[in-house]
Amino acid sequence: MLVVSSIDLKENLRVMKPSKFLASTIKEPTININNDYRYLKTGYYVSLHAEILGNMVIPSCEDIIDSSRTPILLLRAEKAKIPTLPFLVTDSVKKIIAELGLPVVLFAVNPFIHEGYKTAKNKSALYRAMKSLGMNYKFTVCAQPVKGELFSVKSFFGKCQINDEEVCGLAAKVYALFRIPVCKLHVQKVEGKAYLCALQPIDEQELSKSDLEVISREILLISQQGDHLSV
């Protein structure tokens, strides 16, 4: 098993830099570790190169694209019985108010904005949020109702370092479906139940020393089990 990583990992793992892998023709099951798997960025091309070589790879290009396009993330999650809230892809304030009501949380669906979100409690805040995330109404946004507490967790191979079974269970299911090893999940908790809202990259600075240890430990585990890549 080959580990390609843009992040400096702990332990004595055999890790290859993305640029070296991209110039190689190594045919081995591949785990691609990156804090940012965005389309067109190195993290994407590592998975693409592995797929072209015929390697099993985590994550796949399809899952990279789909997990970062919030409406598709939610659609596929819903199909897999992962809890989600209703959502709307639109550039219309009216439609959001009519169909979802307020307050809402908005995620961008455009080529330029890939992190963060905006919430709106009233109409004027919604107009402002639509204008900024839709880049002057040029693009649609993905709107979801705010029904409870909205927060973000880091997920490493579907494991998160918080003491909340509901959220940990959700993260594990999201990982089983999309297999993004390193990411941030935006989640809502409504009456004790956790709902998936979005999946986004983690800033490199946001990765703590203990995060790196967790990632390294998971990789070691996977390389010992070996069957992780065969699904």
Binding site: L40, Y45, I52, L88, V89, T90, S92
Partner: protein, 292 residues
Amino acid sequence: MSKIACFVEKYNFSDPREEAALYNFKNAAEKAGHQFNFLFRENIAEIPKYNAVFIRATTDPLFTAYIVSKTAWELGLKVVDDPESIKICANKIHQYALFEKYNVPRIPTVFLSKDDLHHKQIKEIFDTLGKPAVIKAPYTSFSRYVEKAACETSFRDVTKRFFKKSDVLAIQKFTPTAFDWRVGVLNNDTLYVCKYMIPKGKWKHGAKLRGKPTVVWGRTVAVGKQKVPERLKEVALKACSVIGKGLYGVDLKEVDGDFVVVEVNDNPSIYAGYEDSKDKDIYQRIINYLSD
């Protein structure tokens, strides 16, 4: 009877020739007893009401069109362009890597990663491909992010701009011709053939005039699929076969009596009186495919 949604954006109606083509699709569908509605972004939520989705808005994994395509696909509808074709065709690195893997006749190409942009690498590229070399941003369409460079300074200048959005670029041997062949392909079969002429003194089908922001396009000359060399169609079909079974526009160049693929487009342009002028049945065939 099939219900077909045609996903469009406002700009699809800004050129009367494209607008006419869109209505030709609608007429062909209705004549065959199908329902055909234009679906705008306001009404994406209506996708589940349809049996098939035909995307005419510009496709890219980062555009709304991908959301439409993948949603339709997940719901089990027939969809052109399908998400896999969008993913491959929207990215030159992806399609060129497949051409290499499956031996599709192509223009000599190397990939350049952002981390490898240094003097030695640039020199090696020029030594392999000659000067000038053609630099392509993977997401280019309408000739927009295809430029050539004949020295290290301009090579660095172009790549620096293209690297802002993509961490890998494609570099090719400069292979100028008087026109590009355009072969329309549907479901592994030739649909139409045209020549996309290159404007005089230029080297791209869509070329900028000196000092002006507007793009001039070379003429489109429909040839008719019966009247072209078999080998042209064979190479075009081979290129599509490594991508999928949808609707494609293959750009090829004739070099030393043989044909090489420049690129395969999903979502190919179809303008009334242009691509359709020798092969009149293209609307009907696409509708049949969607409603099958």
